[in-house]
């Protein structure tokens, strides 16, 4: 059984003349949470979209469970659960209908799907709202429904884009608990976030992106050791500079690896 669930090698994506992702390489193992950190426009969402097969890379290779995201897109899509940045729901459908809809799109047999839907509704504590239209649900509940949707086909790999964005403290905490649980289940999780505290709490390793480039990658301990700084926020600010829109001289140094590691060895969960 291969250890690496996600492999990215020299990945680039250009939108016209704008480089969204440049020569990105990293891996993510099963049972690992890899955090993608970066300011707005750093290339986090573009990377996730390439891995989710909805964007084609301009160059480079990305594989999920060994499947190429371009040539074996359907197999990749069967293997991943995606929580998008705007995890909108169909307001006129109930959570139960939504899960059945996506389960059928994933080709699950009816009896398997029935059990899976019941399991997810119970596990994510959605039983009471299961038959209410999604448009009337709170933001936190909607996010849990979106998570359930991403998990309906029990994927071994999860791509989560800002999973706690806009949630209150309680809902965010509950979602983090679920993510930990998914890791315990042995899923590989690629988590895009701009919340340093969340990354510190959840991620086994962190990849810092800026202007589409990978400027740091490692466990928190490795990053602390290399930078001599204690908190992830400080490490992040040093990596991206004070003004992420324009690379600082320090940032340009980071672009060429600087003093932070950009190694690709998959870290183990702590």
């Amino acid at each position: 059984m291969m250890h690496e669930a996600i492999t990215v090698e020299g990945l680039s994506k250009w939108f016209g003349r704008f480089p969204a992702v440049r020569n990105l390489s990293f891996t993510c193992a099963r049972g690992e949470v890899l955090g993608l950190l970066g300011p707005n426009g750093a290339g986090k969402t573009t990377t996730l979209r390439i891995l989710a097969t909805v964007l084609r890379p301009t160059s480079g290779v990305a594989r999920v469970l060994g499947y190429d995201v371009v040539r074996q897109a359907r197999e990749v899509r069967r293997s991943i659960g995606v929580l998008t940045e705007h995890s909108g729901l169909y307001g006129r459908l109930t959570p139960r209908e939504l899960l059945w809809y996506f389960g059928r799109l994933y080709g699950l047999p009816e009896e398997v799907l029935a059990k899976r839907v019941a399991f997810l509704l119970e596990t994510l504590d959605l039983g009471e709202v299961a038959d209410k239209p999604a448009e009337g649900l709170s933001r936190g509940t909607r996010q849990k429904v979106a998570l359930a949707r991403a998990l309906v086909h029990n994927p071994p790999v999860l791509l989560l884009d800002e999973p706690t964005f806009g949630l209150d403290v309680f809902a965010a905490r509950q979602v983090r608990e679920f993510i930990r649980q998914f890791r315990e289940e042995g899923r590989a999780i690629l988590l895009s976030t701009h919340l340093m505290e969340e990354a510190e709490r959840l991620c086994d390793r962190v990849a810092i992106l800026n202007h589409g480039r990978l400027i740091a990658l490692g466990t928190l301990e490795e990053l602390r050791r290399a930078s001599g700084l204690g908190r992830l926020e400080e490490i992040f600010l040093r990596a991206v500079g004070d003004d992420p829109a324009e690379p600082s001289s320090q940032n340009r140094e980071m672009d060429t690896c600087g003093d932070l590691p950009t190694g690709n060895a998959p870290g183990r969960k702590g």
């Binding site: 964007l55 359907r74 995606v82 705007h86 995890s87 169909y90 459908l93 799109l105 080709g107 979106a146």
Partner: protein, 383 residues
């Protein structure tokens, strides 16, 4: 279950819970169409009034005929079209009406057996009005014979080029293509907006794109949902029009007891509506996919509505094109001409075939456009 059916059933379920779709696609045909049917005679009367104010183009066969309508020509009520004419010229619009007298008219007149023939097309408002004008002039002119007791006035024979079965459906033939055209866009409009631009605006499209089915399967499901909504709306339009014509306002619009609308006609009409709706659904879906938001999609769909609804209104005034094969090559027009000819029971088999082939081609083109848009990253993630 095939993925496109999963998509189709979900979209239909959502549409059935959407008040805008319920109102526009289902409730409006039931409520509005009877009102339109009632209002149609008023439009017809306005058109007729305008025609009464214009001189009617008359062709004369036989020199004696000119004498009979000399007063009308002098007063400018009638206008003579010179040269040789035939009945086809009425259908082509060159002439409104023909007044013919036989070569032995004078001998027959002396024998008291003379007759003049008025040839017109009862389906063409301009021709029908011209005939009325001509009859009035002729009646006045023939009064002279009443003062000459030795001779019987000539009889007036009317020859209507439109056969009886055509005139029975004339109102339906003028009205239904317009209503079908309107709801071919309006019927599926909200559905088209919802399944593409709506998905973008709600942020649900990306979740759908990361599922295993191909883009083609996803698009096919959405297309079928828009098409189904449109077809249901058109069925309601047809139903409520027939109800209105038969039971609500049969006499004001002059629909006689001879209204013919059998199962065969209904089937072919539905086929024509299906072809037109396939084209409009594909185009509406493309425009919706190209839009960033529901509001933008609605703005794009207004011109599409006009492009389809205006020909629906125009076909009755362009009825002479209805007989030309090339008219069945024109997008939108081809289906509307076919619908009109069908209701008048003059639709030719080759015209139906031509319309079917061209419409299928246009619908396939529209679907391909939608597929192209759906396959493009810059369209799907247009923000």
């Amino acid at each position: 279950m095939r993925p496109f059916w999963v998509i189709f059933l979900k979209e239909v379920r959502e549409a059935s819970r959407d008040r805008r779709t319920l109102l526009t696609s289902f409730l409006l045909p039931i409520l509005l169409v009877p009102l339109l049917v009632l209002g149609f005679p008023a439009l017809a009367r306005r058109q007729e009034k305008a025609l009464w104010e214009k001189p009617a183009k008359v062709a004369i066969v036989g020199e004696e005929a000119r004498e009979l309508i000399a007063e009308g020509l002098r007063m400018g009520i009638l206008e003579e079209v010179p040269g040789r004419v035939s009945e086809v010229d009425i259908q082509r619009g060159r002439v409104d009406v023909i007044l013919a007298v036989p070569p032995d008219y004078r001998e027959r007149l002396h024998a008291g057996k003379a007759a003049v023939t008025v040839i017109f097309d009862g389906l063409e408002p301009r021709s029908a009005v011209a005939k009325e004008k001509l009859l009035r002039i002729l009646t006045t002119s023939l009064l002279r014979y009443a003062r000459a007791p030795v001779v019987s006035p000539p009889a007036i024979q009317e020859r209507n080029l439109a056969v009886e079965r055509q005139t029975g459906n004339v109102v339906l033939a003028n009205l239904l293509p317009f209503l079908v055209a309107v709801w071919a866009v309006l019927g599926g409009m909200h559905s088209a907006v919802d399944v593409a631009a709506g998905e973008k605006e709600r942020g649900t499209l990306e979740s759908l794109l990361v599922t295993p089915p191909s883009r083609l399967q996803l698009l096919l499901g959405k297309f079928l949902a828009v098409l189904a909504t449109t077809i249901v709306a058109i069925l309601l339009v047809l139903g409520s029009t027939l109800v209105a014509l038969r039971w609500i306002a049969p006499s004001p619009v002059g629909v006689p007891s001879g209204l013919r609308f059998g199962v065969g006609t209904f089937g072919v009409l539905l086929w024509i509506a299906f072809l037109l709706s396939s084209l409009t659904s594909g185009l509406a879906l493309t425009l919706s996919l190209l839009s960033r938001s529901i509001r933008e999609a609605q703005q794009y769909l207004i011109p599409l509505y006009l492009v389809v609804a205006l020909p629906g209104m125009a076909v009755q005034f362009l009825s002479r094109w209805q007989r030309e094969p090339w008219a069945y090559l024109l997008p939108v027009f081809n289906t509307l001409f076919a619908a009109r000819a069908l209701l008048l029971q003059v639709l030719q088999g080759e015209h139906l075939l031509l319309m079917t082939l061209t419409s299928a081609l246009y619908a396939a083109g529209a679907f391909t456009l939608a597929w192209y848009a759906f396959s493009r990253e810059d369209v799907v993630f247009r923000a």
